[in-house]
């Protein structure tokens, strides 16, 4: 049986930010601003959450011409479920959780 790995408080904060706008695609910079995480913390968490299918990502065409396409992220059903489980386990979604 696969061992359920605990999500860190930062990962839960990020999932909460994504869950607040479940239908929107959010850029890395937006997530950094909304969660208060720096890029050095943000991306390893994004990578792990994507590996666990808690979020999905896609490249969005730039609004301004001549700019590169940007990677955007959105929470998945599995991500929402993990967040709910975290909330029910600890009573606070940004504390401890098991996915």
């Amino acid at each position: 049986m696969a061992r359920a790995r605990r999500l860190s408080p930062q990962a839960l904060t990020l999932l909460s930010v994504l869950a607040n706008r479940p239908s929107d695609w959010l850029y890395g910079l937006e997530l950094a601003n909304l969660s208060g995480l720096k890029s050095g913390t943000l991306y390893p968490i994004l990578i792990r959450l994507a590996d666990r299918t808690f979020l999905e990502s896609r490249w969005l065409e730039p609004i301004e011409p001549g700019r590169p396409a940007r990677h955007a992220y959105r929470i998945t059903g599995a991500g929402l479920k993990a967040l709910q489980q975290a909330a029910s386990t600890s009573g606070h979604p940004s504390k401890e959780a098991f996915a």
């Binding site: 850029y27 890395g28 910079l29 720096k38 890029s39 050095g40 913390t41 943000l42 991306y43 390893p44 994004l46 990578i47 990502s57 700019r67 590169p68 396409a69 940007r70 990677h71």
Partner: protein, 190 residues
């Protein structure tokens, strides 16, 4: 992005490896979107690449930390016996230095025996840097003299100027890893 930021992303891309190319593209695209200086963002991305790689390759990261610690312990263990022997046998001072310069050789050889050349060279270089850092920090803690002491006139590492001493030490690591990797290739070919 300025030239320095581009260098940071190139380094991060190299550290992260091919598996994470898309993620590095994503980080770089965000850096492009920043209006103003993106150096802090790029430094964070470099840190992200390092921690992600270390997380994916925990055994390698552990080796880079543990091998230098083992060598340090070995240095402590052989210091007095080697000193005593060189006094008894009346050996010249440089033999003492040679013993300590060559101590990492079997460790680097063992690293080379276990993996391909490029990987062994990278791990050996990082282990060498870790070992040197332990030396600098140890000196700082024990004698209260910070890293600046190694830039003072007359300071020596392995009885050489610090740059030459550290280069010699690194060469031993690289030679050991190359030799180990070479014998590994030969053993596989046979």
């Amino acid at each position: 992005m300025n030239a320095f930021t581009r260098v940071l992303f190139r380094l991060a891309r190299w550290i992260a490896g091919r598996d994470r190319a898309e993620w590095l593209d994503a980080m770089a695209a965000e850096a492009e979107a920043i209006k103003g200086d993106s150096t802090a963002w790029a430094l964070g991305c470099l840190w992200a690449a390092i921690t992600d790689r270390a997380h994916r390759e925990r055994r390698v990261a552990l080796a880079i930390l543990l091998i230098p610690i083992c060598i340090n312990l070995l240095e402590f263990a052989v210091f007095f016996p080697v000193f005593w022997l060189s006094q008894v046998l009346g050996l010249p001072g440089w033999t003492f230095v040679v013993v300590f310069i060559l101590l990492p050789l079997p460790f680097a050889f063992a690293v080379g025996r276990r993996m391909a050349l490029r990987r062994a060279l990278i791990i050996s270089t990082l282990s060498s840097v870790t070992l040197d850092s332990i030396g600098v920090v140890g000196f700082w803690i024990m004698f209260g003299k910070g890293p600046e002491v190694w830039f003072e006139k007359g300071s020596q590492i392995y009885n050489m100027t610090p740059i030459l001493g550290l280069t010699c030490s690194l060469c031993v690591w690289l030679a050991g890893a190359s030799l180990g990797s070479f014998t590994r290739r030969r053993a596989r070919a046979a």
